[in-house]
């Protein structure tokens, strides 16, 4: 293994568009959304997929925005399947129907990851800003399975809905999901602004962990449950993206190649466009991909830490957002010089009354069925 030749990426996240019918306040999309006219066209995506497969990409995550707004989705999926890539459609589902799913299945789609904002239709719709969206999603989940496609249900959890986690898991089971992903809101952008209202308490987390462990036992061999404790409570940071420029490459709607979907917000980095450079050259040679790759960029305490090739120093974006310096140790790490600010946030969560008002706290039983 040579230092100058990075291992090939395992996954490509193809953000086909920033367009989306929903308006979730915690959306990770940049504020300056790419317009439809600046999106890569079908031909360009087909070339990118081709280059990705030759480079060694195995998983293709088709995302957005809402990727189903693209009329060429089935064409793109078909090309990915012909290249042997595992295709995963990451969708809110609200634009899908049985016929479209059937066509995608025939094109060779492997998997659908459907996001649900919450269990409670009123609240879920209010968050997504799309009336009736929740009911549509439940119908779509069933259509995904009817089309013979594998299904992951993705729930975004936080202080206001974490107690409903057992009902979320039960819903996933009812809908035939082979995998349930429970993801905490990330404290970036909107999440960071509302952190005090969203950060769960330690007691909530302990209850959630117990519920997940029980469900994993019960559903063993049938449903995989992915659940990660938010890094604010984890003492060690997450290995963000599996390490910068190590496993995953993202291409934005306009064709910028990024080591992580949020990396465009970091100052001082120039991200090449797939319109101008082949994917392999970007992965291997672009300075922005090399900037935080491996361990050479690290300062103390990471530089001499025995965890440095496990978590790769945590998340560069979180380091930047909290400290103003993307090259610092992720403050989520208990050894980070800036860890006090994370401790202050978790300590405050025990007391702070939520400032983010979340209407309706009715139980969800009738919606689980």
């Amino acid at each position: 293994m040579t230092r100058d030749r990075p291992e090939p990426p395992l996954a490509l996240v193809a953000e086909l568009t920033h367009r989306c019918p929903l308006q979730c306040p915690y959306c990770a999309n940049p504020v300056a959304l790419a317009r439809a006219s600046s999106e890569l066209d079908t031909e360009s995506w087909l070339r990118v997929f081709d280059e990705a497969a030759s480079l060694g990409v195995l998983h293709l995550h088709v995302s957005g925005g809402e990727p189903t707004v693209r009329g060429d989705l089935a064409t793109l999926v078909r090309a990915a399947a012909a290249l042997g890539m595992y295709s995963n459609l990451i969708t809110s589902g609200v634009l899908l129907d049985a016929a479209r799913l059937q066509a995608l299945a025939e094109a060779g789609l492997d998997h659908v990851q459907l996001s649900l904002q919450d269990m409670e239709p009123g609240d879920a719709d209010r968050i997504g800003g799309f009336a009736g969206g929740h009911a549509v999603k439940l119908a779509v989940a069933r259509q995904v399975r009817a089309a013979g496609l594998a299904l992951t249900l993705n729930f975004v959890v936080h202080r206001q809905n974490l107690e409903r986690l057992p009902a979320m898991i039960a819903l996933g089971e009812t809908l035939g999901a082979g995998r349930i992903e429970i993801a905490h809101v990330q404290y970036y952008g909107w999440g960071l602004l509302n952190r005090d209202a969203l950060l769960p308490t330690r007691a909530q987390l302990d209850a959630a962990t117990t519920a997940v462990e029980a469900a994993r036992m019960r559903l063993r061999g049938q449903v995989v449950i992915d659940y990660v404790v938010p890094d604010y409570y984890a003492a060690r940071p997450k290995a963000c993206m599996g390490g910068w420029g190590r496993r995953i490459m993202t291409v934005t709607p306009a064709g910028r190649a990024l080591p992580c979907h949020a990396a465009e917000g970091l100052p001082g980095l120039v991200f090449p466009s797939v319109r101008e450079m082949p994917l392999a050259a970007i992965w291997q040679d672009a300075p922005a991909f090399a900037r935080f790759r491996g361990t050479d960029w690290m300062a103390e305490p990471c530089r001499s830490c025995d965890q440095r090739e496990i978590d790769w120093g945590g998340c560069r974006c979180q380091a930047f957002l909290l400290t103003g310096d993307a090259a610092r140790t992720d403050p989520a790490c208990a050894k980070a010089p800036d860890h006090a600010m994370v401790l202050a946030a978790t300590a405050a969560s025990a007391a702070a009354p939520p400032s983010y008002v979340y209407r309706g706290d009715r139980r969800t039983r009738e919606n689980v069925r």
Binding site: H59, N88, R179, V223
Partner: protein, 90 residues
């Protein structure tokens, strides 16, 4: 204990293929990548939706010099492990 009559299949959404770039077999599943060793590859290649667990063990016993009960345990362990991780249905 696993019933030898059970017919293992790849789970919906799991794919077993050869990766030419890395020169190895891989199992692809949602957000998962498994790189089976040579021994596991022999087992996985026998999964065709028809063969039972017992038939897979028989096929391996005919090719490898190992006691059948040892092989049977190996095969069951490996497939259960992959089943727990969502790649196989037993």
């Amino acid at each position: 204990m696993t019933d030898e009559a059970a017919v293992p299949v790849f789970a919906d959404g799991a794919k077993f293929r050869f990766d030419r770039v890395r020169d190895s077999w891989v199992v692809l599943a949602p957000e998962r990548l498994f790189v089976p060793d040579a021994h596991a590859v022999e087992i996985l290649r026998l999964i065709d939706g028809q063969r039972s667990l017992g038939a897979i063990v028989d096929a391996l016993a005919a090719r490898f010099e190992a006691p059948r009960d040892v092989l049977a345990r190996d095969v069951a362990d490996m497939l259960h492990d992959l089943a727990d991780r969502g790649a196989i249905r037993l």
